[in-house]
């Protein structure tokens, strides 16, 4: 569903992505792991059009490279950024409202579905978003992106700074989303969670994909883990 082919991206003069080719299929959870600063977040941003990419991004067989972010969102790619990016000053309900797209409503996720799935957000619907706990904020951004009913969702470091109980909840949510046939690209620092829920894993190093395989294949490649993952 989402394919990148020889994707390059630059921040000023630094060459962050050096030819990334990867694929996420419908209903699949694919994790992107690697040390900090290898370009995992940049990959999400350049797919989304937030960082100008060079190369090919295909979605549903259409080339979407370099289109404006709002167009890419309307095609069906959802993005949950690393720093959560709730909108402060707006209530929980208003944050969710901004996830709704003008066209293409009537998908799996409406207000009722979101509030059924996240009862805590319904309880706090009129609370300013910045007053929520870290875990609640993460659920809010996930729910907000789901309100747009994406067919592919990129989730960047969702478990950072969250309590183990919330991490487990989040893992369940991602499995549910994938079971609905949505393609999930998970950028993750915690290897244990990534291995537990992913169908396939990519290891990134130096702006390239250095490993591509199943969690058990990664388990059997101590050299990859040693060179690209362990600190």
């Amino acid at each position: 569903m989402l394919v990148t082919n020889e994707l390059h991206a630059y921040y000023g003069k630094s060459h962050v992505l050096r030819g990334v080719s990867m694929e996420v299929r419908a209903g699949e959870i694919v994790s992107l792991v690697g040390r900090n600063g290898v370009g995992r977040s940049t990959l999400c941003k350049s797919v989304m059009g937030l960082v100008p990419p060079v190369g090919d991004v295909h979605f549903d067989g259409r080339r979407v490279t370099g289109q404006a972010p709002h167009r890419i969102a309307h095609l069906g790619i959802g993005y949950v950024p690393e720093d959560r990016a709730i909108f402060p000053g707006l209530s929980v309900a208003e944050n969710l409202e901004l996830g709704v797209k003008r066209r293409g409503n009537g998908g799996r996720w409406g207000y009722r579905d979101v509030f059924n799935r996240f009862p805590r957000l319904e309880e706090r619907r009129d609370t300013p978003a910045e007053a929520l706990s870290g875990g609640e904020q993460q659920m809010l951004t996930m729910a907000r992106t789901l309100m747009g009913n994406p067919r592919c969702i990129m989730v960047d470091e969702p478990t950072e700074g969250l309590a183990p109980r919330v991490v487990a909840e989040l893992a369940d949510l991602l499995k549910e989303i994938a079971a609905d046939g949505i393609a999930v690209l998970l950028v993750e620092q915690k290897l244990s969670i990534a291995k537990q829920i992913s169908h396939r894993m990519y290891v990134m190093g130096d702006g390239r994909i250095v490993f591509d395989g199943t969690p058990s294949q990664l388990e059997d490649s101590p050299d990859v883990r040693k060179e690209w993952l362990e600190v």
């Binding site: 937030l50 404006a68 709002h70 969102a73 993005y79 990016a85 909108f87 707006l90 944050n95 901004l98």
Partner: protein, 316 residues
């Protein structure tokens, strides 16, 4: 005394409402989009001139609607083809761009309409005394100004708090990247916000041009004070802008009408300041001469002691 106070309050309120009309658009543009639009008062001036010229053909009431729309469209073009290109280099180039634009607009106005003030007058339908107080007539047009300003406030408040466009604007303040990733066309929203803000300034001009004066220097006369209103009120706060406008309007009108000085204060406490003493200039400086300074003094003090303004959410 009661007469002076009543009229100072009424006139202060009126001046404050004019200030609000001028600055409410800037609250959107500077307070929310972060664009230091030095040319904001130029759109106010264009509003007055457009309304005057259109009014010659269509009458005041049609011009009241058409002039702000025309100026708003010019504002949209300025954003789309000017500011958007400059924006990528940061806020200082934006300021410089609008600084230049303000001078260009002034010179264009001189070219088309000349240097002398326009004969832009109160429309006939509003040219009558509405009521009389202490034997002095109060003109209906001034009440009309008040009504327009209050409707502007209510309209803006509802737009920001009750519509989806308002939500997008508020969210774009903190995270434009995320708003666009959710499928909203942020640059387009910014263009319309800028157009709307300049249209509001023009509406202020349609009315203010009559109440004050319509001449090529009017933009530079009002230019700095609208920034005072926006900063004192608090960035991005419409309620704050309203309160700050009225505060500045009343403060300045009172200072002009009461003719007081620090020496009077001395008298209250039984101290007569000797006229030949060293600081006599300061003691005997009457409030009418301090009046023009007051808004800027307020700005300076506000930035030192309460940088987020009366009702702002973030620091300027």
């Amino acid at each position: 005394m009661l007469e002076t106070i009543t009229f100072s309050l009424l006139n202060g309120l009126l001046y404050g409402m004019l200030l609000f009309m001028l600055s409410s658009g800037l609250t959107l543009i500077f307070g929310m989009m972060g664009v230091l639009n030095f040319a904001h008062a130029s759109f106010y001036m264009l509003g007055a001139y457009f309304a005057y010229t259109m009014g010659l053909y269509t009458g005041f009431w049609v011009a009241l609607f058409l002039a702000p729309i025309a100026v708003g469209l010019i504002g949209a073009a300025v954003e789309r083809f000017g500011l958007r290109q400059v924006h990528q280099y940061g806020h200082v180039p934006e300021l410089l761009f609008t600084f230049g634009l303000a001078y260009v607009v002034e010179e264009l106005v001189r070219l088309f309409w000349g240097n002398t003030p326009m004969n832009y007058r109160v429309p006939e339908a509003l040219d009558f005394p509405l009521f009389s107080l202490f034997g002095t007539n109060y003109p209906a047009f001034r009440v009309f100004v008040l009504v327009v300003a209050v409707s502007m406030f209510v309209g803006l408040y509802l737009l920001l708090k009750r519509t989806r466009a308002g939500l997008i604007i508020q969210a774009s303040l903190s995270r434009p990247d995320m708003v666009s990733a959710l499928g909203h066309n942020v640059p387009q929203v910014f263009m319309w916000v800028f157009a709307f803000g300049t249209g509001l300034a023009a509406l202020g001009g349609v009315v203010g041009g009559i109440q004050l004066v319509t001449e090529p220097g009017m933009a530079f006369m009002m230019g700095p004070i609208v920034f005072v209103v926006v900063v004192v009120g608090g960035l991005g706060s419409i309620q704050g802008a309203l309160i700050a406008s009225i505060l500045i309007g009343v403060l300045q009108t009172f200072a002009l009408s009461v003719d007081w000085s620090l020496a009077n204060l001395g008298m209250v406490f039984g101290y007569a300041v000797p006229p030949e003493s060293f600081f006599a200039t300061i003691w005997y400086m009457d409030s009418t001469r301090i009046a023009p300074m007051l808004p800027y003094l307020l700005l300076v003090l506000m930035l030192i002691f309460r940088p987020r303004g009366l009702m702002g959410k973030r620091e300027s």
